[in-house]
């Protein structure tokens, strides 16, 4: 994309100036990057303030999220208590049960939301965080912006399983049959929360290659 644009306008067109422009994440106004202390000229929000610890905060959130994702998969999401029996199923266990029941679309939705989306988000963020520090082959910056945008929008999808647990546990609580939330639901919710925080604290100016 970049190259094509340069072809139309000639190689020297304002490229330096353009690199200095940033988009306010709060009000979308275009601002000139002042480096350390950016205050949006329209909404006066403090934007892109961290210069020294640009990636550290994002790393910290991401690692926390990955750590919480482990118990989220090991412990049961939902415990079914029926006639004295207790039966807990993990995320993957739940998917398998649904698949065996023949509910293929729902099994796929859960697999997508609880396994695919979180893992994809971890990988995308890892890639972004590593690639802004070390050059990994020839990766175009436009693609990286798109990857960052994807991590921003797919986040909420992973909450599906947590909501499902909340709904089932809220609906079925009789003495003979009861569904309760399992330890994994807390871990999973926290994992989702920290992944969103990791994405939000990522400084997208780094994609432009400035340190």
């Amino acid at each position: 994309m970049e190259d094509k644009r340069r072809d139309i306008y000639g190689a020297k067109m304002n490229s330096l100036e353009e690199e200095q422009l940033i988009r306010c994440p709060i009000c979308e106004a275009v601002n000139r990057d002042q480096g350390k202390k950016n205050i949006c000229r329209r909404c006066h929000s403090k934007i892109y303030q961290h210069q020294k610890f640009q990636t550290e905060k994002s790393w910290a959130f991401l690692i926390t999220a990955i750590i919480f994702y482990i118990p989220a998969n090991l412990y049961p999401m939902l415990v079914i208590k029926q006639f004295g029996n207790e039966d807990g199923s993990t995320i993957l266990g739940g998917v398998i049960v649904l698949w065996e029941m023949g509910s293929y679309p729902v099994a796929l939705v859960i697999l997508f939301a609880s396994v695919f989306v979180p893992l994809l988000k971890f990988l995308l963020l890892l890639y972004l965080l590593i690639s802004v520090k070390y050059s990994l082959g020839n990766d175009s910056k436009v693609d990286k912006h798109t990857l960052y945008y994807i991590t921003e929008i797919i986040g909420p999808w992973s909450m599906i399983d947590v909501f499902v647990v909340a709904i089932l546990a809220g609906l079925i609580h009789l003495s003979s049959m009861e569904m309760v939330a399992g330890a994994a639901s807390t871990a999973f919710a926290l994992s989702v929360f920290f992944t969103i925080m990791a994405a939000n604290s990522f400084d997208s100016r780094l994609i432009k290659g400035r340190k």
Partner: protein, 232 residues
Amino acid sequence: MPLVVYKNFPYTFVLLYQNMKTKITSDQLDELIICHKCHTLHKKVSITNGSKALCKSCKGVLYHRDDSLIEKGLALSITGLILFILANAFPLIKVDILGQEQVISILSMVVRLVESEYYIVALFVVYLVFIFPLMIFLIYITLFFLLKTTKKEQVVEELLILLSKIVPWNMSDIFLISILVSLVKLMGMLEIHIGISFWTLTLFVIIDIYMTRSIHIGELWKIKEEIYMEPK
């Protein structure tokens, strides 16, 4: 740099090339827009009412033009709020278990989580599907009302900042999908009845999605600037 593709309703694409070889000066910043998706810089062009400007490289929507945005926004947000209240006033789902009827609403779900000491999950649920959606619609109503009556610019600015911070945390749409997933899980096990609130919640989510897609916060800032600039 300054290419904007613009889309005229319904399907005609018009390519607008504006050759701008001069240097960007700081007073021109208002004429520029950076695509949210791919960060390509564009120069804004004026578009006709009811159309939207698309990004040259990713075809994402850059901005819209809707001359009746404030009236439409006010009507939609009031409808949305009413639907949201109805969605919380009646049961979402009813099931019959061994002759006993069990119902669920968003708040009863939260209460149940608190009872079983899942405080963190309860907190997430109550914020993501109750407090934030409610706040967003209350903010929208106040905002459009203030914009319409040209009052309290300071409050409008604060509300716009707050709005942009909580909109990404509204998960009503995902919650609706979760209800559908739960229904499928329970199907075959129990007799399920869909409550009135399920339908009002569905309508609420449709309005919610439509509003987040068609009202960009950047556009509201622009409208705000235009409105409060000219003295009435």
